[in-house]
């Protein structure tokens, strides 16, 4: 593997030393390796990876003298190359697991070639006619006026609720219970339960209102509502049945036949 000429070694060293000076141009290990491989002026696929590794390792050695700090990248690559070198130098041990030195070398060659390809492609890309340099967009642009057309929607329920809100607005007042004109559902239920046993055939629900809740409208409404609600509860419990002939017809109730 001594096919690296002295001249190449010198130019490689120059390139390597350039790294220390021009950090912008040489960013990292693979980058540097690519440059080293270029100085060999051979096809990447035929590169002596070993020679490359040696050059690189000697660079790292010298770089250590020149710069106190080395990027971790460099050291990882150096370790990897040292491993690669040992693999290439030692005869393959069939019992040992892991990739062979050739595999690793082939992979490195692939990486270098791929990077080189990306370099080329980047250059080709930048050489294209670029917008704002070779090709131009319209100079006087006409702003497209964004006309915001707003459509409004409302549903029938919105409409009805709005109307209901207006119609009841006058009656809004601080919340207060006036219990004297209020028959609760619980009271109605308590009243209805004992009556179930006495229910015969269909009878109007209104006849089940408490006696003293018939006359005054406010009391009557409350009693009607709570009695109706209570009877619904009783239907749910399976004690009674309700029916109504048609809309607004009297609601009738009877005990559920078992």
């Amino acid at each position: 593997m001594s096919d690296v000429s002295a001249a190449d070694a010198v130019s490689a060293r120059l390139a390597a030393e350039a790294l220390i000076v021009d950090v912008d141009g040489y960013e990292g290990p693979l980058d540097l390796l690519l440059n080293l491989s270029r100085t060999q002026k051979v096809d990447l696929r035929e590169i002596s990876i070993l020679a490359l590794a040696e050059q690189y390792l000697s660079f790292v050695e010298r770089a250590k003298e020149l710069r106190i700090e080395l990027a971790a990248d460099y050291l990882v690559m150096a370790a990897w190359l040292a491993f690669l070198k040992s693999r290439l130098l030692l005869p393959p041990d069939p019992t040992e697991e892991g990739p062979s030195g050739e595999d690793l070398a082939a992979h490195l060659a692939f990486q270098l070639e791929r990077l080189e390809a990306m370099r080329d492609s980047a250059a080709k890309l930048m050489a294209r006619d670029q917008l704002g340099r070779d090709r131009f967009a319209r100079g006087i642009t006409e702003d497209v006026a964004r006309v915001r057309r707003v459509t409004y929607t409302a549903t029938l329920v919105d409409l009805m609720q709005a109307y209901a809100r207006i119609r009841t607005k006058d009656e809004f007042r601080p919340y207060a219970f006036d219990r004297e004109n209020l028959l609760t559902m619980e009271q109605a239920l308590d009243r209805m339960r004992p009556l179930i046993g006495f229910m015969g055939d269909w009878g109007e629900l209104t006849t089940y209102l408490p006696d003293d809740w018939h006359s005054e409208p406010a009391r009557r409404r409350s009693a009607t509502a709570s009695t109706f609600a209570a009877s619904l509860q009783l239907v749910k419990e399976g004690h009674v049945e309700l029916r109504q002939g048609e809309t607004f017809a009297p609601i009738e109730i009877r005990r559920k036949s078992t």
């Binding site: 100079g139 006087i140 409409l159």
Partner: protein, 221 residues
């Protein structure tokens, strides 16, 4: 003969294309150049600018005239702006330069309430709407509903001042899926649906003398 020392155009050595001084590009090429320059330049370009920017020996005026003819009747035209030239949208296509964004919003509370009142009480005057809502109705709210084509002007009320009335439109019925304003659920149904409290309206009795009772039959029965 122009004096090369005084003629400002004589210093052609800076010509980017290294055109010879005496060979102007063919006219078709000059037209392309004028086209590209007018297109890409941020301001209208004067003939003088064109001359300065094009290779030596070009006749931008001729090229410009040809280009102008070429764009006649097209979607964009070459137009003169003062002493300069530019490419502009053909005037009849200006409508394309508006990009309409349709945004759907919910109607404001004021608007929906006003609309509800018109729907239930039509024909109704603005004073009546305000009376029912208990607050003033802004001009904007009415305008919005008119614009939406959900309400329109009805016949004038035969009362002092002959105020205009509002009624709902076909578009309103269409939007809300109603065949007839009478299909609107009445107060009783609103009540039944729990949308309306069942207390008697304190001002109900006085509502009628304000209006012509038109909506009355709408809610009964």
């Amino acid at each position: 003969m122009t004096d090369p020392e005084t003629d400002p155009d004589a210093h052609a050595e800076s010509d980017p294309r290294e055109q010879s001084l005496f060979e102007a590009p063919p006219m078709a090429e000059q037209e392309r150049m004028v086209e590209a320059i007018l297109f890409a330049t941020a301001d209208p370009v004067s003939l003088r600018d064109l001359t300065g920017r094009m290779p030596h020996g070009c006749e931008p005026a001729t090229a410009l005239a040809a280009l102008r003819r070429r764009y006649e009747g097209r979607g964009v035209n070459v137009v003169r702006i003062g002493e300069s030239w530019a490419i502009r949208t053909a005037p009849d296509l200006g409508f394309l330069m508006r990009h309409e964004v349709v945004e759907t919003r919910k109607l404001s509370r004021a608007a929906i309430e006003t609309l509800a009142i018109v729907a239930y009480h039509q024909p109704v005057t603005r004073a009546e709407i305000e009376e029912i809502r208990g607050v003033g109705v802004s001009r904007g709210t009415i305008d919005q509903l008119l614009e939406l084509d959900w309400i329109r002007f009805g016949r004038r009320r035969m009362s002092p001042g002959r105020p205009v009335t509002f009624v709902v439109t076909e578009a309103f019925l269409d939007h809300f899926g109603l065949e007839n304003p009478r299909d609107l659920p009445g107060l009783k149904e609103l009540r039944a649906a729990g949308l309306l409290d069942n207390r008697p309206m304190p001002g109900e009795a006085t509502d009628d003398d304000e209006g012509d009772g038109g909506q009355g039959d709408m809610f009964e029965g």
